[in-house]
Symmetry: C2
Subunit: 441 residues, 2 copies
């Protein structure tokens, strides 16, 4: 007797052989995938406590959003279409200073988790402040996450004295290590221009001792590269390399402005990269050289970035955007094919954040993070190639069911066990204080 | 007694004053908008035969997809990530030659209409062959459409002898003029490189006499521009200008590769333009200079293009893509703000296809083409700015109800009066003949 059976499915495994099984079923025991099999006509299906009929739909590994700032859901749409520095200094920073409290972080993260689950994301990698409250919310909502307490060399929410920033992060890692099975603590240094060399070294040292992921924004804008060259005489990536940070378990986010040696350094050091195309486009930052990163053997995941710069956490849009953007950038419609975009949003993202052995593909023994797409929706038909369909045709509206660690968190497009209205109410209440209401709640 | 009342809404009118009304309601009589008003607390709502409670959601004019090839829904995902000529000559052209029959055009268009309605599009501008069957399907599904019979100087489905291509199109216009209130006939010349000068002149003459829209793909690729220069000694736009085609009621699709004089010519002639960012990206064609077109006073609508090169007809993705793409292209996060992207997908698109007085904004007297977005979805909250929310946060999954000409066509995310399975079955049957099935239907 299995805990869960998903049948009548086209299973896109994202395993090393790129197996796609039509007329297949998948079983789950104790939160792990027990087996994946073709279903021979006339043979009985295995018994299970809970059964999901995929109705011919596509079954995929849950998507992995490798870069989020979940609490920033609070600022979704607060300020758009503005010059970067105006946006940051006149809108986002003041709003953060005034409204990023433990309570608001918790409420906004719960809402962000609902958005993620309902759009097919089962794992995210987050970095922000007051990350304890992010972790509480994630724990409540049942998402899998790598969560990094933020480190920056100026006062931040929950870290009044920046001299203690790395200590606060170290304590966060201590507290959450082995505490909840779906939560993996991490450390998140904001950027090479907001953290001094010593801060970066100490943070990586803490991460290394804990076996934790070290996250950092790198080379997002040309201005950052110019600043690093002025202040440290080298590019941001070279700067990290000199500090010994380009090691495995280092996750470099953005990497838009890389010079030739940067890619070789990153590849040599074993760091992984997160590509956030929509955020980079919306802020006018540029296009990360993803095809060259891949040619150089780097692992590249896909991230939405926070809601303040996207303004959604929909990885279906992000996959489509990535695949199309790099065709445009390369002037080549064969660049970044659908399969690679889907790998970035699943197995490659899982590897990038250190969970490649746990999730990211559907294989016996891996944890049961699974999504079921509705193939009875007009936009999903006809169906010549499930992988192409997922990347270029599907949308968040294609996600019917979301399962994390064997537990059904979204069923028939509805969040299980949580009334969405209860997530919206507290966030709407804060929003009314941030700006006068345009919309009645 | 009104026919329809939509209340408890934030109404984004897209009128000339950019009015956004919170706590508002809208009434419909005989398929037209009767009035739009704020709802004063404690006052009764007007009586109506049918009432829709928007539950605080955003009410928008139905979206206008200014460039589709609906029958190509049959080839969604058939061939992707291929060089343009391989894609066209080895996959799309042979599939069209073998499978574009009147029956298949009808079936694929019905499926495409369902996708459009369910993702919030109430009007589209289409161009293809066997357009009579497209019109039948559109009429059955209740969409509003400008439909152009295709013209090309080689044999095409339904036009065995290209010598009669313009005559076939003229008869199509005759047949559908005034025949069905939601259908406006048009003529669609494929491109300046596939239609001889005389064909183009005759087609525009037919259109002019009928007061019909003349649609044409223009300057989609660099190769096209080079070819026109070789064959005609000038750019595609200059070529059309010499032929007297850059007049009002001419719709130029793509316009990716424009030279300096081209924009002035287009603006001077009064033609309108359709921007198809996703298709242009996916085929590696390039980026149309939309900000410059707008600066020069041109009307620019938004289109998805056909499903073979997108592979969806989701205008929410297209708006977001357009707004982000031009920020990237301009290296400026203030480029193509949300409001302009939404105008392109509503009122500007309506104007571009000749329906600016009929639809595209919510104003008393205009036809009642309306969509209701669900603001109780996590991705729609908080709500600081409804216009930004529609462009950057919403997705097709935000569309709850779709009303065309006063009739509810999608209610609570379900197509009204048509079982989607009956639309999928015939398309899936053809798809099995085009390629061996990967997925069981």
């Amino acid at each position: 007797m299995y805990d869960l059976l998903i049948h009548n499915a086209t299973i896109v495994t994202m395993n090393a052989d790129d197996d796609v099984l039509a007329d297949a079923y998948l079983t789950v025991t104790d939160g792990a995938i027990a087996a994946i099999n073709r279903h021979r006509v006339g043979t009985p299906l295995p018994a299970a406590a809970e059964t999901i009929d995929a109705e011919g739909g596509i079954v995929l590994p849950g998507l992995v959003n490798a870069h989020t700032h979940m609490p920033m859901a609070l600022f979704r749409g607060l300020a758009d279409d503005l010059p970067l520095m105006t946006w940051l200094q006149e809108h986002i920073f003041p709003a953060e200073a005034a409204f990023i409290t433990p309570e608001h972080v918790h409420a906004a993260t719960r809402l962000a988790c609902a958005e993620l689950l309902m759009s097919g994301t089962t794992t995210c990698c987050d970095g922000y402040f007051l990350e304890d409250r992010v972790a509480d919310a994630v724990d409540e909502m049942g998402l899998r996450a790598v969560l990094g307490q933020g480190v920056v060399d100026f006062p931040a929410p929950g870290v009044a004295d920046p001299a203690h920033n790395v200590d606060v992060a170290a304590k966060f890692i201590d507290r959450w290590t082995g505490y909840r099975p779906l939560i993996t603590p991490s450390i998140f240094c904001h950027a090479p221009y907001t953290c001094a060399p010593d801060t970066l070294r100490r943070a990586k040292s803490v991460a290394r001792e804990a076996g934790a992921l070290f996250q950092i924004h790198v080379a997002e804008t040309r201005e950052e590269v110019q600043r690093l060259k002025t202040e440290h005489g080298c590019t941001p990536v070279a700067h990290l390399d000199r500090l010994g940070l380009l090691a495995p378990d280092t996750l470099m986010v953005h990497c838009v402005w890389l010079e030739k040696d940067d890619i070789a350094r990153a590849a040599g050091g074993g760091a992984a990269i997160v590509h956030c195309p929509e955020s980079n486009m919306k802020l006018g930052a540029g296009i990360a050289p993803v095809p060259r990163l891949l040619e150089n053997g780097l692992t590249v995941g896909l991230g939405t970035d926070g809601c303040a710069s996207n303004n959604n956490q929909d990885l279906f849009k992000e996959m489509d955007m990535a695949a199309k953007l790099h065709k445009l950038a390369a002037d080549d419609p064969t660049a970044l094919p659908a399969k690679k975009a889907l790998q970035m949003a699943t197995i490659d993202g899982a590897r990038a954040i250190g969970l490649g052995d746990v999730v990211g593909s559907l294989e016996a023994g891996k944890r049961a993070d699974i999504i079921v797409l509705d193939s009875r929706h007009p936009r999903m038909r006809p169906m010549f190639n499930p992988v192409s369909q997922v990347v270029y045709a599907a949308g968040a509206d294609s996600v019917r069911d979301t399962i994390v660690d064997g537990r059904v968190r979204v069923r028939n497009r509805e969040l299980v066990g949580t009334d969405v209205a209860t997530l919206i109410t507290p966030v709407a209440a804060v929003a009314r204080r941030i700006l006068p209401p345009v919309v009645a709640d």
